[in-house]
Structure formats: C-alpha cells, structure tokens
Amino acid sequence: MNEAKLKKLRSISKEIRKDVLRSLTEAGSGHTGGSLGLADVFTVLYFHVLKHKPHKPDWPDRDRLILSIGHVAPVLYVALAHAGYFPKKELQTLRKLDSRLQGHPGRDHGLPGLELSAGSLGQGLSVAVGMALAGKLDHKDFFVYSLHGDGELQEGSIWEAAMSASHHKLDHLIAIVDRNEVQIDGKTSEVMELEPLADKWRAFGWKVFHCNGHDHKEIYNTIQQAKKKEGKPAVILAKTLMGKGVKSIENDHRWHGKPPAKEQLSDFLNQIEENNAI
C-alpha cells in the first residue's frame, strides 16, 4: 500500500466516522461505540479489499461481507453509501419509519449491498459458512468475510460454525473479530472470559492472525496473509478501541448502545478532526 492510498483510506475513515456520528445523532438511538471502532476495518474492506461492484450489488462473483453483529449497522450503512451503493443523504433516515436503514440490517427493506439481515448474535458465521460452501461447490473464487464482535463469541453457535468451517476446509472464508474487549455489561474478561482466544480458534482448526484494527496498512497486510489458501479458514483478531476517534468516549462500555446527544455532536465531530489529522 503506497502513501497516497494510505492517506486516502485514512481520509475515508474520518469521513465515515463523522457520518456515523451524524446519522446516530439524527436517529436518537443506536450503537456508537462499535460503529466507530470498526470504521478503519470497514474502510479497508470496502475501499481496498473487496471485489465488488456498487452499481451491480448482485454480481454473483463478488466477495461477500457478512455483518454478524447487526447492531453496528451504522458503520456498514455509511461505508456502503460512501462506496456508492446508495445516496449519502439517505443516512439521515437511520432507524426511522419506512427507512431502508433499519436499526439492525433487514434485507426486506431493499437496501442495495446488504448481504444479510442480522442482529441476533452468533448467526452470521453459519451464514458465511453456507456462502463459502456454495462458492466452493460452484468453483467460484470469491471470498467471504464475516465480521464479529468479541462478546458475540460467547454464543455457542459461533463454535458450531467454526468447527464446520475447518471441517469443510473453507479457506476462502475469513472471519474478523472486533477485539475491543468490551461488551454491554463491562469488560469481556469480567462478563465472560474469552482468553485464550487465539488458542480456541486454533483448536477449532483455524489460522489465526492479529492486527491493530486502526492501522489501515496493517489491516490490509493481515488480510492479504489470511487470504493465502492453505486448506483452513482464517480469523483475524483485530484489536480495536470502542468509540475510536472520539477521545472522550473511547473504551467506555457505556457507549456501546447509545447515540451522541444533539448538543454533543459538534464536539464529537471536532474530536474526530483533531484525532485523525492526516
């Protein structure tokens, strides 16, 4: 990745964070922490990794991005809008009646680029397994990226899916875990310990990678590593900060599920500008 590209991606992440904050503030409810925390991962995926055609969302050979943690829908919607799937002004309809931008993603509302209706935790990896099986059966070379929260890994169905992905040697399936170590009730280590997390995935037959989930270059390089087909699925444990970019709320679990108040918005947007000087 050259410097110009890196600069471009950083700039996109900054704009994505700002639009996440704007749409959540307008909505008056929703999940700020995780949406900000994943902005860099989404930027790298939608603007440098995914093989996709925003003007042709159903292109059969596209890479699939499954968002298992439906509650961070804002960052997905903003990334899709910035990538050109639909007009950015629609972001202001988030969570409103008749909007295509449902609180948790719902395909029945017809939003282009949305691969899955999801919101009940622990289901997305199974769907990703199904997509990867279909790709394998049809000799397609698309990749399936499946995005997960770390708290979500407490769901047993995740591990059923993990077992099946390695059993079927799905080496075109890449799971990315938002490892911010925080969930609604507090630290993951206190709510339900996940460590040794890398060992768990390895024991289930996966290749495990780590990266700084806010370093675009590192995210990209790690995905490139993970894409090497070696007969095993790959998981990337992306270390992130919940609320990244707005210093005053970073790593505060209370920001998992609430939006900025209207009077906080300009301060938060300023913090994004200051903390993301390019």
Binding site: L116, G130, A134, G135, A161
Partner: protein, 318 residues
Amino acid sequence: MQYKSRGRKATKEGFAEGLVELGKKYEDVVALGADITSSVGMEDFAKNYRERFFSMGIAEQNCIGTAAGLALSGKVPVFSTYGVFAGIRTADQVRISLCYNDVHAIIGGAHAGVSVGPDGATHQALEDIAIMRVMPNMTLLSPADATQTKLATMAAYEQCAGPVYVRFGRAPFPDFTNSADAFEVGKAQTLKSGNDITLIATGHLVWEALLAAEQLAGENINARVINMHTIKPIDKEIIIKAARETKAIITAEEHQVHGGLGSAVAEVVVHNHPVPMIFVGMHDRFGESGQPEELMRKYGLTAEGIVSKVKNFYEKNS
C-alpha cells in the same frame, strides 16, 4: 370409502423419495445432514449426490444458518433432522437467518408426533407446528401419508420461494393418497363430502378421520373430511365453506392443540363464521414411551377417539 390403504409406509420414506427426485431434477438442490442422516430419509440423496451433501454434525443451529448462506448464494438447501431439533431448538436461527432473510430453504421436520414411539417425549415433536407457523414468510406442509409427503417435498421446491417446513413421521402408517392427485400448496383437499359436521385433519390423522367418517355414517352422521396438508398458508376458503355448511368442525392432529392445526382453523372460523369446534390432539402435555399404536390410542389420536368426541358433541347438543 373412496380411499383404500395400499399398506403401511412411513412418511419419512416419502420425504426420502422426494429428496432424491429433487436431486435428480434440480442441480441447485443441496442437503445438510446432522448425523442422523439415514434416520430422517437423507441417506439416498447423500449417496447419489455426494458432492451436494454436506455433513454438518450434531449442530442444528449451524445447519440453519448454513442453509441460509447457501440459499443466499443460489442454492436450495434441504436440512432435515428430528422436528424437535430442526425447528424448535433452532427457532431463533429459523426466525432471523431463514425467515427474516426470506430465503428458499427447506426444513424436513422428522419424527413428528407421539407415533415416534419408544424414544419417548424428548424426541416426539408436538410443538413444531405452533412454532413454525408463527414465523413470518414460512410455509408449513404437513402431508397425510408417504405418497403425499413425496409430493409435498417436491412442492416445497417447485411451488415455494421462501422457507418451507415439511413435517413427517417415523412409524409406518397407511399409504392411501394417489400420486396422480395434484398437490397444491395452500389448497386443502376434500377427501369425503358431507353436510353434518366437518373433520379437518393433518398428517397421520387424515386416515383416522376417513375411518371415523365411515363409523359416523353408521350413526347417521354425514361427516365431511378435509386433508389440511398445508397449515400455512391455510386454506381459508375451504374452512369458511365448512363452517357455513356444517354444524361443527373437528380438528385432528398429532400435535399440541394449542397453536397447532386446531388453533389455525379456529383463527379462521372465529373471524368469519363462528361454529362449535372440537380439538383432537395433545392437550398440553408431553408424550411418553410405548408402541406407536398404543400411544395413538392412549391419547385418542384414532378414528375411535374422533368418533367418541363427535358423539359427545351430539349428546350435549341434542
């Protein structure tokens, strides 16, 4: 009686035949097995179409999600296991991954009802109709015998576009419907005309309802018999017609009367033309071990059970 039993055959065999036929006719049909592949009628498909069969282990929730992923990628997956696991254990995956995404996937709900027999309550699906039919976008088929189960399995592919649950049983029961009779999803069949009362049955109870109608004829009660092979979307027209033309409706099912066929029929009746109803089925209790026929008899899920409830109704209302 117009219908004759050609002998006993388990409805799961009809599912097995339908699945193989689907595999032969349609390239996009794939199947997911959860360890009990042969027990639920998927063995032949697995043997004939090895590359399109995926062994998923004892992990039903993952099977439903995987089915959703396959369906979202252009396949029509068929996943079958015992109904208690296929639709009840996996209810949340069915709700979100299958139904909310509204994908064309087929669930084979095996081991329906107490006629599962000696395995007992844990393995006898008696709540699956109730749970599956409240899921938006779901189609729910409950065919009467093995011959019709094959047709229903084919119809789940050929006539449906969203998630479908096909319910069938384990023990051999009379096989009496004709393979030449069209199976139309959502269109119930009047197997016998009659203008005194109406028996609306599903699954194994359809044959019993036919026998009951014969016995009732001896009592000068002319019963209409309807095979409600599709629980959802339910055939409102045939129910309303029965409510208008006969004085009572008796539903019969191998399922809890709460939430099952009886409830589905009652919802139509009370909205349109209220008439007295009698519910033959399991009354808010679990099943138990025993031989299939013993259990059907014990819980009144037989022609005699239906007849005695009808006679009771006549005595009370005479």
